[in-house]
Symmetry: C2
DNA sequence: TGAACCTGGATGATGTGTCAACTATTCCCG
DNA sequence: CGGGAATAGTTGACACATCATCCAGGTTCA
């Protein structure tokens, strides 16, 4: 009745150890709230969303401030249609513009505009400050290190072996070759 | 790197230490991939989404298998309009149904249907197995403990003080209503 | 050359989340 | 009692993510 977020108790207890279950519930809850808070903070005190921010970061990280659409998809781990839709919306708002690629008639670049640059420059400090205040001010150096190790381990697991086939969608979309794989990838 | 994106960030705010930044990027990537993978796994080998699952868990955890809409919103930390929309969609698919509340003419219950019950019973084992395989099989006991501690610290920060007012949206306008941490005893 | 195939990207349908505004009931208090 | 305020929940508009499909431009190879 109170504040229990994901009381998997009945369903998960049999498969996770009690300690694991407590950790999982705490993680899920924290992660949801943190995402919500960061998104909200970003769109409240700037005019862009977290997704816009991610795209703009990729662009400002590039000397040219122009990146091919599919490379954006790869570096953000987004599907190509997602990046396409999102760039279309950002273009409509003037944050980026598209440019044709002369060396490859199919391709197109996403180019940072002045408005886009000033938008990310306006948004970044508050975002960084929020992350610092919400996360890193709460953690010791050892905890930060462990957080990184945990994240890397899980991420590696996610992008290795059978799980990778899911993510491979944007690296090479040959969906026909994806093996049926009965109950997901966990069966490694 | 990102640091040079923010020319005057140094003057306005503390950006992140290099180790913090690495940890943050690792966490963000992991968290995004993990969410995507869990969602995908769930909707591939069962006919429900993670959001459906969360709602169904709340219902099956209740003796009656019926919960008031606003209580759903509170326990899931969702906005009331989100739960309303989502329940409408689930009702359309036969997973739940609505029932009027006689003791309060404004209220309504969300009630689990047989289809809903069999859907969650079919989905839960594979989900738990996926979580175990992707996360806990990668981590030592110490890492699991640290993950829980980190999550609890950040979550506490998110639901305390000024941040709480943001989350309190669904708890009406009484910020003191926000429950700090129930039986969890973060420092245990 | 040209047919089969691959690749980069766009598009439309659909499901989902958020915000603001709205209705209807109940509560509070004079 | 009556009139406001709070509460429970819905609705519509819009932003966003995913999926399947389409298409134009390149590649391969006979």
């Amino acid at each position: 009745m109170m504040c229990q977020l994901f009381p998997y108790a009945e369903h998960v207890t049999r498969w996770l150890e009690p300690e694991q279950q407590r950790a999982w519930r705490a993680y899920v809850r924290m992660q949801g709230e943190l995402n919500a808070h960061l998104s909200r903070q970003m769109s409240v005190d700037s005019e862009i969303s977290m997704a816009d921010f991610a795209v703009l970061v990729q662009l400002t990280d590039t000397p040219d401030e122009r990146v091919r659409v599919l490379e954006l998809a790869r570096s953000l781990h987004w599907e190509k249609s997602r990046i396409s839709h999102h760039v279309a919306r950002m273009e409509k708002r003037g944050l980026v513009r598209r440019e044709n690629c002369r060396s490859d008639g199919r391709g197109s670049f996403v180019v940072l505009t002045d408005l886009g640059r000033s938008a990310i420059e306006a948004a970044a400090p508050a975002h960084a400050e929020t992350v610092r205040a919400l996360v890193f001010d709460q953690l010791s150096d050892a905890e930060v290190e462990t957080l990184r190790e945990i994240s890397e381990k899980v991420f590696t697991r996610l992008t290795t072996g059978e799980c990778a086939s899911v993510i491979a969608r944007c690296d090479a979309d040959d969906p026909m070759e994806v093996v049926p794989e009965e109950s997901g990838c966990p069966e490694a």
